[in-house]
Structures are given as C-alpha cells and as structure tokens.
C-alpha cells in the first residue's frame, strides 16, 4: 500500500506488526497521522469483529487511535493459529478502511543511539563489523603526541574521498603538528581547531551518525580516550562532466545539463539565480540509500504553503532507497493513477531556473540529472525553453505545431478508423475512393489494422531505444523499411495506414516531454478501440472523458489545465502564443501570486525620440 496523496486531509493509520519468532507475543506500532484537532473516527465495522480473541488487541487499537500518537503495545499472551488468522483479518479490515499497513521494517538499527566507546580499539572493531569488512573501507592508524602515545584513527571509504586532500591536509599536518598536545582532549581540540585543514569539520558523539558520514565520503577521526569523533568533509569522486542534455536538446539556449552530483546541480542553479533568496533545503530520503534530495525555490516568489507541502510530502516518504527522481515523483504526485504526469521533470538548469522565477519549486535528487518541478501544468509539458529564447513569432509558431502534434499523436489513428468504418461520407469522393482502393484486399477491419500497425510501431520504437548504437541502424532499416514495405506488399496493411502510423509516430516525437508523450501513446490505443466501436461518437466520448479527467487533476494545489480550465484570461499570454517578453509583465497568477509583477511596464523597445527638428545633427 503506498502512501495516500493527501494525508493531511484524511487521517491515516499506520500499523506495523511484529510477530515474535516464537509466536508468543505480538508488537504493534500504531501511528495515526491527521490534521491537528480532527480526531479520526474509528469505523464501526471494527466492533463487529470476533469477540473472543480479538478483543484485547481491538481495544488497544481503538484506544491507541484516539491518542493520535505513536504507541507500542505488547500483548503477553501465547499466540496460536487462531490469533494469526485474526491478525490477518484485522490487517485486511484495516486496509479496507482508513489505514495502510506496512510490513515491519527490514533495517536493523543495532547502532541506534549507541554512544561511542572511549577505547579506539572497541570503536574500530565496531566500525569494521558495521561495514562487514568491506574492501573499500580504509582505517589508518596514526600515533601522535609526545612519543606518539595517542592513537588517532582515520576512517574513510576509498573512492569517495579526495586522497590528496587526506594525505596533505590531514595525515601530513597531523604528523607534523600534533606532537605538542599533552592530553588526548587537548589533542582532540588541536585537531579540531587548528590542525585539520579542511573547510567543513563536524563533531559527533553518535556512532550511527558517524557511520553515515563515513559512508557519504567524509573522513572520520577518532582519538583514543576521547568519546567524540570528528568528521571532515573530504568528499571527492569521479563524476561526469557537465554536458549538453541528451533528452532535451535545443538549438538556442545554454548547453549545460544537470549531472548526477547534487552539489554540481545546485551550483548550476546558483549560477543562474545569483541572489541569496534562492533557497536550497536538503534532506535525506531512503532508509538505506540515504539519497540527498534538495528542494530549491526562491523565497518570496514561491508560496510558502506549497513549499511546506513539498517538505511534508518528502518527509512522508519511507522507502529503503531512491535511485532516481522518478521514484520520488511517484511517491509525491497528486494523481498516481493518471496516465499524465503532474510533475514536470527536466535536465535543463535553464528550465528549472525559469520555473523558479515563476514561483515554482524544484526538487533535485542526487544520482540523477533529472530535476522535478512542481506545481506543473499541462501547458508546461508542451513548452520548451526555446519558446522563450527565440523571437515571439517563431516561439509561438513552434508551440502551435507542438499542440497540433500532441493532438495528432492522440487522435490521428482513431480518426482514420472512424472515417473509414463509420463516416465514409465525410471524405471527399476522390479521397475515399483512393482509400477504398488501397484497402482493397486488406483482410482485417480498419480497427484491427490500426492496432496491428500501432503495436508494430511501438515494438520498433522500444527495440530502437534499447539497442546498442552499433546495431541500431540495422534494426531501423529492417523495421522501418522491410517490415513496413513488406506488410504493405503482403496486403496485411494498406499504404495509407502506414502513412497514418508514421505521421502519428513523428507527431508523438514532437512532444517535448517524454513522459506526457507516453500518456498520449497509451491513450491512443483506447481511442482507436473507441473509434472502432462507436466512430466519431466514441472519439468525442473519449475526448470528453479525457477532458474531464485532465480538468480534475491538480498539481500541488494548482489546476493541471490552468489556464484553459479554469480559464484565466491573463494567462493566455503564455498559452498558444507567447507574447513578447516586454509584454510578459506578470508571473503565472496561480503560482506566482506572492509577487505577481515580474518586470517594468515600459519594456517595449522603440526608436529614441528626438525633440526639435534639428535634433538629428
């Protein structure tokens, strides 16, 4: 069961069940989340639960729910088969009603809150055990102080650290300068305040925290007889250089794309928004992967409530690992079952910066070049940065083509099917005779023909995307030429169908954001089926349903179809046509309302005005 999209609205009950291996006792962690002041009502159905065994647990469950806080209960009672059945039934009931029941967490937190030992050897043994003797863990022992009587332990993970930094700024300096310290405490203070020549040094007494830092590329320093450790930021690893984004190439505009390292990505944003109001808040998501995730927004432009909502949704994520921002997207999006994404992803810093200036919020994830932008609206998915960089007419024309091609990729095959099987009167005579002539001898109904070719095309595309570059062209030739041509000659499909499918395919590639193009691609099959069974009526019904669905979507509180539905006339400046920059006075009303006016009102360029008839001299 995934987390609900709007936890803040309806109360949610999380129950974690642990059954003791011996079967003798059960622990239940119950957690209720709801808005303050609104206590969840316990469904009356629970009262109909079997009385005999369920009672104690039921009572606990109900009473705990009322307290609205995490609770832990132990039932000291021998557990039999009946109890397990009861437990299963209870779980089902909980699922049906208000709560989500999760499996017990797999993470062993044996070091939670465990204080450091004073003895370096004990700590070392513990660290080694925690890492399970991983080969990339390096533990270096140094002896400092008069006569080398204090042991200093350097702990780091090879490959995550800058080795030059460690040898020059840590080892060399410690060996040279730490001899004057008299006591271990003094040596510790010297290290912290004077000797370690690394910009970021933190102090911790908690072993778990320490281990996380070491696993993240920090270098840990332990001193014998001191129950505190220092972690120095020595992170440095091989990373991809900044390249042109592969999925969103433009003709005009910056060629920089995000990379996999979060810090580089935030720096790319900082370089475009040189103002202290650019806020970058960082958190870790993933109980094991500890992926760094950053929220970026411009304070004063972004609505603080939306920022808080983003923080809440991110905080609610409870998964073991995050590999890509797509996982975060799925865990925080508003409409998990919609074919359309309600969060925009991009690997272009200029696109993110543009969104920030509109009052939107970006979520950057370590390990992927794809950033997320919220709130996202439908029109953003059909927009490219070039629309704003090219002059207004070109930008508007390109955008019109994109809208057209999105609609084409959604409906063209279904229009073909509808016209050829239901509305033969709608085409000019010469054209319908031509189509009829081409369909002569095709054994399938038009709808089957369309589905067949569409499926073939999807297979070709999928094969083409995954293939190594060396065999790619060969497959394209076989697929495109041989199969298409041969299917036509074999009389399986009509030539016009090939034209329709090819046009549709090209049109779907003209949609700039892949994730929404996929939505249209999937819906295309439904539209073809509707067209094949009901004709234009089916297409119109499908488009109606689609329209209703799209207008019902929200992305972080903003209607997805804004400014079309609800119609916001002032926002038409950036809908089908983009008005020139000098007329783009305001930010989008629904996201940028905190600071609506974005520029001066007299930006329209004009020739200078001279006064007097001889002024040109």
């Amino acid at each position: 069961m995934g987390t609900r999209a709007r936890a803040s609205v309806s109360p949610q009950l999380f129950a974690h069940w642990f059954v003791d291996p011996s079967g003798s006792s059960v622990w239940s962690f119950l957690r209720v989340e709801c808005a303050a002041g609104s206590e969840p009502a316990i469904p009356s159905r629970f009262s109909r639960f079997p009385k005999n065994i369920g009672r104690p647990i039921m009572a606990l469950l109900c009473s705990s729910a009322k307290y609205l806080m995490p609770t832990q209960f132990t039932v000291n009672k021998t557990f039999g088969k009946d109890d397990l059945i009861m437990l299963r039934n209870l779980t089902r009931l909980l699922r049906k009603n208000i709560c989500s029941v999760s499996k017990p967490s797999q993470v062993k937190k044996d070091s939670v809150g465990k204080p450091l030992s004073k003895k370096v050897k004990v700590n070392e043994a513990f660290i080694r055990r925690a890492f399970g003797n991983s080969s990339d863990l390096v533990v270096r022992e140094l002896h400092v102080g008069p006569g080398g009587k204090f042991t200093v332990l350097l702990v780091y993970v090879d490959g995550l650290v800058d080795k030059t930094l460690i040898s020059e700024n840590l080892i060399e300096r410690i060996s040279d300068q730490a001899d004057k310290s008299r006591t271990p405490e003094q040596a510790y203070d010297d290290l912290k305040n004077r000797i370690i020549a690394v910009s970021d040094v933190k102090e911790t007494g908690d072993l778990d925290n320490f281990l996380n830092h070491v696993a993240g590329g920090y270098c840990g320093l332990l001193i014998d007889d001191v129950a505190k450790v220092l972690v120095a930021d020595t992170r440095g690893w091989a990373q991809r250089s900044i390249e042109e984004p592969t999925t969103e190439a433009t003709v005009r505009g910056g060629k920089e794309g995000f990379v996999e390292t979060l810090r580089t990505n935030t720096s790319l944003l900082r370089r475009r928004v040189k103002h202290p109001r650019l806020r970058i808040e960082e958190c870790e998501i993933g109980t094991i992967s500890k992926t760094s995730v950053a929220i970026a927004y411009i304070s004063g432009l972004a609505d603080e409530k939306v920022v808080q909502e983003v923080r809440n949704r991110l905080a609610r994520i409870n998964v073991d690992s995050i590999q890509e921002s797509g996982q975060i997207e799925e865990l925080i999006e508003d409409a998990p079952f919609s074919p359309f994404p309600t969060i925009l992803r991009t690997e272009r810093p200029d696109k993110v910066a543009g969104a920030l200036f509109e009052g939107r919020i970006a979520i950057l994830t370590n390990g992927t070049p794809f950033a997320l932008i919220v709130p996202a609206t439908f029109t953003m998915f059909l927009t490219t940065p070039e629309d704003y960089f090219e002059r207004t007419f070109i930008g508007s024309a390109l955008r019109a083509i994109r809208y057209l091609s999105f609609f084409t990729s959604l409906t063209l095959p279904s229009l073909y099917v509808a016209v050829t099987t239901f509305h033969q009167e709608m085409l000019p005579t010469a054209l319908i005779l031509n189509v009829a002539a081409q369909r002569e001898g095709v054994p399938f109904p038009a709808v089957v023909e369309a589905l067949l070719m569409e499926a073939l095309f999807e297979i070709l595309r999928e094969a083409g995307v995954r293939l190594p570059k060396i065999v790619g062209p060969a497959v394209n030739i076989i697929g495109g030429l041989v199969i298409g041509e041969a299917a036509m000659r074999a009389g399986l499909v009509s030539p016009i169908m090939v034209v329709v499918v090819a046009t549709t395919g090209i049109a779907s590639f003209a949609t700039p954001v892949f994730s929404i193009a996929i939505g249209a691609r999937l819906l295309r099959f439904i539209m073809v089926l509707l067209a094949g069974s009901l004709g234009f009526f089916g297409i119109v019904a499908g488009l109606f349903a689609l329209g209703i669905h799209l207008t019902s979507l929200r992305s972080f509180g903003v209607p997805f179809m804004e400014p079309i539905a609800p119609a916001i006339v002032s926002e038409f400046k950036d809908l089908l046509a983009r008005v020139p920059w000098w007329a783009m006075h305001t930010r989008p009303a629904l996201v940028g309302h905190k600071d609506l006016v974005r520029q001066g009102w007299d930006q329209k360029p004009k020739p200078p005005v001279y006064l007097g008839k001889d002024a040109h001299r």
Binding site: T421, Q424, T429, A436, Q438, G441, G535, V540
Partner: protein, 409 residues
C-alpha cells in the same frame, strides 16, 4: 448571441464546439470494402408502372491500378439497373445484383430521363429528400430525348475516369465560365423551388453527343480512347410543378441567370463599332440584378435592374481605342443591347412555357404579399402577361494588354 466578457465568450465557444461535436451523425459500422460507392444515379419509369434505377458504382481496385501507373483496360465503374414499384424498392433491389452494399452519400447526380420527367418527379425525389444517407447536394439533371438508363450506360467523358467526375467538371466550368446552366441546381434547391409559391423549378439539361458515330459498343471493357458517346451539360429543363414542360438552350439559360443575378462569367459577342462585319468579344466580369415587382392597375410590372461589368477580350477589326475613345461608350451601349436580347429571349421562352422560373411571383410575394394573395390563384394567367421593364447598366473596364490589334502593313 455571444456574451460580453471575454472569458464568458471563450466558455461559450468551447461549449458550442463541444455540443457541435456530439452531432456526429449516424454510426452504422460498415467496413470500407463492403461498400460500393454510388457516384451517379439515373431514374426512369418503365412501361409497366415501375421505376427503374440505374447507378454507377465506382470500382476502387480499377482506379487503384490506374494510379499505380499501368494502363488499365478495365472500366473504373460498374453500371447496374434494377426495378421496383417505388424508388426505394428499386434501390433495395440493387442488392440482388451488387456484392457490395451501394452507398449513396457520395452520389453526385440524380439523372432523370425525359419521359420520366414529363410524368412528374415528386414521387421519386421524396426518397432522396427523406433518406439520411443520400445528400441533398446531388445535382438534378434531365436527359433530353433519352432515358436516364441510356445515358448512364453509354456516356463517358474523356479526361475523367468516372463519368460523375466528368459531369461535375463540365458543370463547374459551364457555371463559372459560361453561366449557361442553373447555378447550384442541387436536389435541395430543386425541392425548395418546388415548394415555394411563385417559383418553378429548373434542372440542368443534358444532351447526349455522339463522339464516334461508328457503332457504340456496349462491351464492358471499354478503352478510354474509345469514348463513343459523351454529353453536353448546359441549358435547362423547365418544370411546371414537378413535370417537365420544355427546354432552354444555353443562351436562354444565361438570360435566366442575368435575371436572377447569377451570371459569373461568359462571353458576349457584339458588333464592332466603326467597322462592319467585325465582331468584338466581351468577357463578363460580374453582374448583379435587382427585381422590383409592383402591381399597377391590376397589371404586374417587373422592373429589372441589371448591373454588369465586362472586359474587352477580343476585337476582330482594327480600332485604336486611344484615338477613338467614343467607341468605348458605343461598345457599352451594344453590350446593353446584347444582354437585353438574352434576357428577353429567356423571358419570352418562359412565358411561352408558362413557367415562372425566375421567381417573379415569389418576389411579388415578398414585396407585396396582399397583392400576391389576390393574384396567386390566377398566376398562370398573369405570368404570360407580365410587363418587364429592363434597366441595364453596363460597364466596360479594361481593354487588355494592347490598345489596338496588330495589323498587317
């Protein structure tokens, strides 16, 4: 009425568009290859009180083969007839012979044989008006001196693969270039004329023209180079009620078009001023007309004002128009005369047939309804006595690229 505020207006547009898109028509599922596209349809009455329907059904495969480049000896259409007591029955009986269901939405022509037209077409046309599949845009034409079946079976056109395409091409150019046939003479207009008081319907007149008198053959594999019989579209079939009463030739038909203001183009030939026996062609540019009927002393008087413009298109003699500008007004005067001749010819022919094809009665009804009420019962008697007063205003616009003809010296 669109609302005033912009966003309401946009909502209005959206709602209208959505509502319109629900009017998507009937939804019978029929695969393309189960349909036979009827491109032209002929109607006759046979001896034993039956109605005979003859249709052209396009053969898509024959057309396809031709577009692929190889010369196809096959006719690209199939002619088939069937009979029944009513038109609908006759049409349904086609199913006895046709492997593909005839589909009438692309029918371009309803061709009526002369005999049939003389006995009345009301019973036949009702089906095409009532049925949703056949379009009211089909043109109504009457074959002079033959049955529709003969026409359908024999006539073909050079340059076009399907006779319906050929007929349509000719009709279009006759309307646009000659103004010698009724404009927009569709089933829809025909039925409107039929239904309106004070107008009689007209239909396009077709004459069959033998191209190669050496034995027309009915062999199915007619090669395109061997078109035996073609047809001429132009002039009009004049109806009185739903019965054919007579014919107009091309000139007379243009007279009708002058009256109704539907002349688009055409050539007016006049005598050249200053030079005997030489002619001048004027190309009509545009024309409009205004009818003003009134009743004076119980007599109907129609004032007809025609404004016409033309270009000088051709001159047989040599006349330097720069030197003799007065020839210009002379030609305009002759143009007026020429138009007057055509109009009067049409009017006298209509009076002779006693069929008010111009809609004088309807115009009177619009302008003076009470007088029309007293006249309409004896309109048959009044119409031939109508006095038509012509006010023709002709303008010559341009003389072309030269000011005088080239002259041998």
């Amino acid at each position: 009425m669109p609302p005033k505020s912009l966003s309401k207006f946009i909502n209005f547009i959206f709602i209208t568009a959505f509502l319109a898109s629900t009017l998507t028509g009937c939804w019978n599922r029929r695969e393309l290859d189960t349909l036979g596209f009827v491109t032209a349809l002929g109607v006759d009455r046979t001896g034993e009180d039956k109605i005979e329907i003859t249709v052209h059904i396009a053969k898509p495969f024959a057309i396809a083969r031709a577009t692929e480049g190889s010369v196809s000896p096959e006719k690209s259409f199939w002619v088939v007839s069937s009979t029944g007591s009513t038109a609908f029955e006759a049409i349904r009986n086609l199913l006895l012979q046709s492997p593909r269901r005839p589909f009438y939405a692309h029918n371009r022509f309803i061709v009526i044989g002369e005999e049939c037209a003389r006995t009345g077409v009301k019973e036949i046309l009702d089906l095409f008006a009532r049925d949703g599949e056949a379009r009211r845009l089909a043109r109504v034409e009457v074959v002079k001196g033959a049955t529709a079946k003969d026409f359908m079976q024999q006539v073909e056109f050079e340059l076009e693969r399907l006779p319906s395409e050929g007929g349509q091409g000719i009709s279009r150019s006759v309307q646009e270039g000659l103004s010698a046939e009724p404009v927009d003479c569709t089933l829809n207009s025909f039925l409107q004329w039929l239904e309106t008081e004070g107008v009689e319907p007209i239909a396009v007149r077709i004459d069959m023209v033998p191209k190669n008198p050496a034995a027309p053959s009915n062999v199915g594999h007619l090669l395109r180079e061997q078109v035996k019989i073609s047809s001429k579209h132009g002039g009009a079939a004049v109806f009185k009620g739903d019965k054919l009463v007579g014919w107009l030739d091309e000139k007379e038909m243009r007279g009708v078009n002058w009256v109704t203001g539907k002349v688009r183009s055409g050539i007016l030939v006049i005598e050249q001023p200053n030079e005997k026996g030489k002619l001048v062609s004027l190309e009509i540019l545009r024309a409009k007309s205004k009818l003003q009927p009134e009743v004076k002393n119980g007599e109907v008087l129609v004032t007809l004002r025609i404004d016409a413009e033309a270009n000088l298109g051709e001159m047989q003699g040599t006349l330097d128009l720069v030197k003799y500008p007065q020839a210009w007004t002379e030609m305009e005067r002759k143009m007026v005369e020429a138009i007057e001749t055509e109009v009067m010819a049409a009017i006298s022919k209509a009076k002779e047939l006693n069929s008010d094809i111009f809609g004088f009665g309807a115009a009177l009804n619009r302008r003076h309804p009470e007088e029309w009420d007293s006249l309409k019962d004896r309109w048959d008697l009044e119409f031939p006595r109508i006095d038509v007063k012509l006010e023709i205003n002709a303008k010559l616009r341009r003389m072309g690229l030269v000011t005088r003809s080239s002259e041998p010296r």
